[in-house]
């Protein structure tokens, strides 16, 4: 089980800020494919991955990053701090 969290418009499209996901995905990309296959809201949210950033255990990673040891995966748009 992995905690999956969403922020900003990704959260709005998915419709929940956080959920637990049962998955055998080996990478972030595989997790995205699994989620996108579930329901339209996921497919819509993940339709353009160039507009999405991902963090595993609160560290920014690429979509090909492994999920081994991951307890929390976060999806969000490019950050706009400052």
């Amino acid at each position: 089980m992995i905690d999956v969290v969403y922020f900003a418009w990704v959260r709005e499209r998915i419709g929940v800020p956080r959920e637990q996901v049962e998955t055998n995905a080996k990478t972030v990309a595989e997790l995205v494919s699994e989620l996108s296959a579930r329901e339209d809201r996921y497919e819509l949210a993940f339709s353009d991955l160039s507009a999405i950033r991902v963090a595993v255990n609160q560290t920014l990673v690429e979509f090909d990053a492994p999920l081994e040891g991951a307890t929390e995966v976060a999806f969000f748009p490019p950050m706009t701090g400052g």
């Binding site: 969290v5 922020f7 900003a8 418009w9 963090a55 609160q58 560290t59 920014l60 929390e72 976060a74 969000f76 748009p77 490019p78 950050m79 706009t80 701090g81 400052g82």
Partner: protein, 144 residues
């Protein structure tokens, strides 16, 4: 050296009391909610990723401290609903040399813009819109 993520406002003067411990040069940057071109901004909603925000800011601060000789540094970033004119965030740097203080403050700002997990939504009288990350902000990281 400190990082704070908070909903409440901050007072620049209070933050600078004793800041820098005898350094000759103190640079501050303060970000203010500015109105949109249409002038109808009601508020700016700032969302963040609590579990990641403070560690990310601390990493950015550590990177700056490793790179420039600073006698002090501070990052404060607010979240929540902010009105036009409200303070969003500040960074402060202190050094014996002004160029160090300036460069470190610019470095902190450049990294905050696109490496700190904050997202901004403008609530206007006619609707809501997420502020998009700027390519220029990402490009700004390349100079460091």
């Amino acid at each position: 050296m400190s990082v704070r993520v908070q909903e409440q406002d901050f007072d620049l003067a209070a933050e600078l009391a004793g800041f820098g411990d005898g350094a000759g040069a103190i640079v501050t940057f303060t970000g203010i909610v500015r109105n949109n071109p249409a002038g109808d901004l009601r508020e700016m909603l700032i969302e963040h990723y609590p579990a990641m925000t403070k560690p990310a800011l601390e990493q950015i601060e550590t990177d700056a401290l490793n790179r420039w000789q600073l006698t002090d540094s501070r990052i404060i970033h607010r979240f929540g609903a902010l009105k036009p004119g409200a303070q969003i965030m500040m960074v402060a740097t202190a050094s014996t040399h002004r160029q160090n203080a300036f460069e470190a403050a610019e470095f902190l700002m450049d990294y905050l813009k696109s490496r700190a997990p904050f997202w901004k939504k403008e609530i206007t009288t006619s609707g809501e819109v997420w502020v998009q990350g700027k390519d220029a902000d990402v490009a700004a990281l390349k100079r460091w």
